[in-house]
Amino acid sequence: MQLALTILVDGISYASWLFIVALGLTLVFGVLKILNIAHGSFYALGAYATATAVAWVNGAGLPPMWSLPTMLLAALAVALLVAPLTERGLLRFYYGRDEVLLVLVTYAMFLMLEDTTKLIWGANPYYVSEPYALFGNIDIGHQSYVGYDLFLVLLALLVGAVVWWCLNRTRTGKIVTAVIHSPEIASSMGVNVSRVYMGAFVAGIFLAALGGAFTAPMISVQPGVSVGVIIISFAVVIIGGLGSIEGAAIGALIVGLARACAVHLMPVAELFSVYLVMALVLVFRPQGLFQRIQARKI
């Protein structure tokens, strides 16, 4: 019982972190049909930006609570500066290419961003652990958790809700969903598709950066942080169904819980638990959990 509770909490808190990152990935795929390997690099950028910004806030002697909005702004800055640059200056030249080809394009972007980040911030580690202490500790069962981790769960819920609302309750959202279903029809209805692409990409990158920004306090920001998140967030969106919001949520939960079970019950299996889940889901639901196969008109 106690163990079950711990597994649940651990699983959920891991899942919520994963969800924020994966959401951006699935959004970008849904609209631009690009499975973005460089997503991890934007995550890293978010973390670095936060490291710099929060350090500055603390330096300015502002109250620690300020670091939360700062992190938000850092992520926003990354999204507004870098995303349009890469989308306009790079990605758009590859639109309409084969999905797998685009994976490679983003792989190249990933390589380049790795070195670029290193050129800007160097190889030394950055720490911004101050926010991590903001919410103190919370005891659940016999475990004492850091409040911040549970705050991330709330953040994830909030992010999920906001994105869902934007897509389903706003005019822009309707347009975006239209583009997701069929860019051709949307553009024939006078939608400026390239604007939507740009917007979706910025949003996706913002979510990646947000994930990085709010993870920064619990890690040491340094080269290589990007690699860890790529494949696992891939697994999430593949499990959930590419381009599906609720899919990303469920996928994140599945992965989080699977991993938590592995760690608590069978640590030796942790290494490939996630891939096994992914493979299994694909075998039984080729399109992922939240994607249906539409018959083609002949």
């Binding site: 891991y14 720490y127 004492s144 306090p217 340094q222 290589g224 608590h264 640590p267």
Partner: protein, 445 residues
Amino acid sequence: MAQFSRFMNRNKLCCVAMGFLCATSAVAQETFKIGIVSFLSGQAAESFGIPAVNGAKVLIEAFNKGQAPAPFNKPGIGGMQIEAIYIDEAGGATKQVQELRNLYEREKVDVVVGYVGSGDCLAVAPVAEELKKFLILYDCGTPRIFEDNTFRYVFRTAAHATMDNVAMARYLQARKIPVNSYSMINQDYAWGQDSRKDFMLSMANLYPQAKPAVDQLPKFGAGQYGTEISALMSQPVDLIHSSLWGGDLQAFILQSAPRGMFKKSQVVLTAADHVLPGLGNKMPDGTIIGARGAYGLMAPPSPLNTWWWNTYSKAYNVYPVQAPYRMAQALMGLKLAVEKAMAANKGKKPSTEIMAASLRGSEWVSPAGTIRMALSNGQQAIQDTAIGRTKWSEEKKMVLLEDIQRFAATCVNPPLNVKSEDWLKSGFAGAKCDSQVANDKKPKK
């Protein structure tokens, strides 16, 4: 298309330029070319690769200017200016094997000093042997390299990883720290798996009654340890052992300290010195850490060490940790060996054969104490090591180490021709632990 072809042309030019460069360096005798390979990108860059390369840069500069203290004061290497080529170790063993061949046969280097990854070391060693080229492994840990093969041109100028966990267990015993149960968290690849095994065997020798409890093997570069920490803390134990390093270790500490893990159990980290400067007061006091040698804060005081400490600190305004020390002891050993070989070779640049012969079985004093090429027919070094306890110093604004205890090389390394694992299982048969220096002052900054 235009860009593309231009790019290729540039490469052709590169080749030509390089060919020319090779030609010159082949005839000219006044330079000694060293290929230095370490992580310049990826997870190991921050903690190992770049500090080591930085160390190499300052040391080689000092060598070339003849500014290093005796016996390293001859300019360059025996008068030859040192020319270094740096290669990124990231990209896997396959890439390393190819780049090693390119270094020897395309860049015509006289020696390659490098490799942090055990897998890379295993892969490149036979290649150097096949090409009959001089190779110095300066860092990688696995004992398998020389225990599974015999080499003539391949050397390792640092002790292998067995030492780290043996010393840790001996420290616990020497400090009379009671351990009836212990948990472990190690990365799920060779380094972590080996450290875990070594520590368990060492504990079996010194703490036969101690029971292993939780045994976590997170994947390399996991970043998020919340779940593992819950698992570790779900069972009350006296001791928690970890061989995590670099970013993983930092993340683990940042995430576990607030949850009171370091208060609940005594935490021992076998390779943690390199995170101290960065973590600062985020490093919990009283943690027992190793440095994979008597490095950094635990280096034995000596003029040489003071010089090295100051030179490095001045250049990069952070004090040197294990990685630069390991690089330094490799380059120093190399310098002396080559100079000895030149003396034997009437001052001319010696052949690989002679250089290897003079490094084989030699010994020299490094900032971390004496290095002895004692094992595996004099190809594998042993060295003294030390373990200490962290203590944040408010006035120095840095983490210091107290209760430092040194262990003689012969006490924590297997004797000649005994495989590490057999030695551990034999209960450290033949270990000589007489010369134990107890706590002394760490060098002044």
